[in-house]
Symmetry: C2
DNA sequence: ATAAATGCAAAACCTTTGCACGCCT
DNA sequence: AGGCGTGCAAAGGTTTTGCATTTAT
C-alpha cells in the first residue's frame, strides 16, 4: 500500500484513508466498477465514507491520470486503474467488461494521425459481443 | 425524403412528421448531435414537438439500427445516422466529433476474436486529440 | 497553521415513464 | 376502428455542488 500512497503524493494529492481505499480497491479489482459499486464495496470497511467523496476522489484521480473513466454505453461511468491504453470488450449478455492488453494498435493510430492531422492524446476502444461463458449458457442473464 | 420514410416503414415504424424530421436531421448533419441539440434545431420547424418525443424516437431508431448511439465521455449521448462501423475522433479543445470511415479494422477484430473467443457483434472506437484548426488557434475554446 | 478533503443534504442534469389525447394505417 | 405515437408533467437515477467540519501536511 505504501506504493499507492506514494503515487498519490507524487501527484500532490493528500493521502487520506478514503482515497487510499478507493485507489487500492480499483487497483486490485478485475472488474471495472462504477462509483456506486465502489461505494458499496467499501461500506463495510469505511462505513462513514459518502458517495460524494467517492465521486470527488474519482474525479481527482482521473485528473492526474491515475485512473481512467470508461463509458461502455450504460447510464453510468466505470473506472479502471489500468491507465495503459487498452481496448475493452463487453459481454452484452452478462455485462462483464474485460481488458484487452495485448492488442497492438500502432498501425491504426498512425493511419488515423496521418488522415486527420489530429495531435492524438487518448483513445477509448470498446468491443461488444457474447463471451464464451454466455455462448454456452442457454439461460443467460438479461 | 421518400427514401427515409421507406426505411422507417421497412422497420415497421410508423412514419410520422416527428420521426421523419429527426431522422432526416440526423442523416444530413455532419455533427453528432445530442437529443437536446436535435430538439433545439427542430424547434422552429416543429414547435410542438417535445423532448420526450425526441428521446422516444431516438430509442426507436436505435433499436432497429437505423442510427447508432455514441458516448464520447460527456454527460449525454450523441447520435449518428451513419451505422456503418467506423471510429470517431473527438477534438478535446472544440469538442467536434468527426467520422473516420476509411480505417480498416479487420486485423484488429480478428485478433480480438481469436484472443477472447467472444462472438463479436459491435464496437465503438473513440480517439481523442487536438484538431488541426485548434492546433493553430492560440485561444481555443475551453 | 493553512489549505485541502470529507460528509451531508440539496440541487442539477439527462433520461425515462405514465397517461390522456390525437393521428397514422 | 384500433393501435401506435405524441406531448405534457412528473419521476428516476446519476453526478455535482455548497457549506460546515475535520484532517493532512
Amino acid at each position: 500500500m505504501k506504493e499507492l500512497a506514494q503515487r498519490l503524493k507524487e501527484k500532490n494529492l493528500k493521502v487520506t484513508p478514503q482515497r487510499l481505499a478507493i485507489f487500492q480497491m480499483l487497483s486490485k479489482t478485475e472488474e471495472h466498477p462504477s462509483a456506486e459499486t465502489i461505494y458499496k464495496s467499501l461500506e463495510t470497511t469505511h462505513p462513514t465514507m459518502s458517495l460524494a467523496t467517492v465521486y470527488k476522489t474519482l474525479d481527482a484521480l482521473k485528473k492526474v491520470h491515475l485512473i481512467q473513466e470508461l463509458n461502455v454505453g450504460e447510464d453510468c461511468f466505470r473506472y479502471d486503474a489500468n491507465t495503459n491504453s487498452h481496448p475493452h470488450i463487453v459481454c452484452i449478455s452478462c455485462h462483464e467488461v474485460y481488458d484487452m492488453d495485448s492488442i497492438d494498435l500502432d498501425d491504426v493510430r498512425s493511419k488515423i494521425q496521418k488522415e486527420t492531422n489530429f495531435q492524438l492524446v487518448d483513445e477509448r476502444l470498446y468491443f461488444y459481443g457474447i463471451c464464451p461463458k454466455c455462448q454456452n449458457n442457454k439461460y443467460p442473464p438479461a
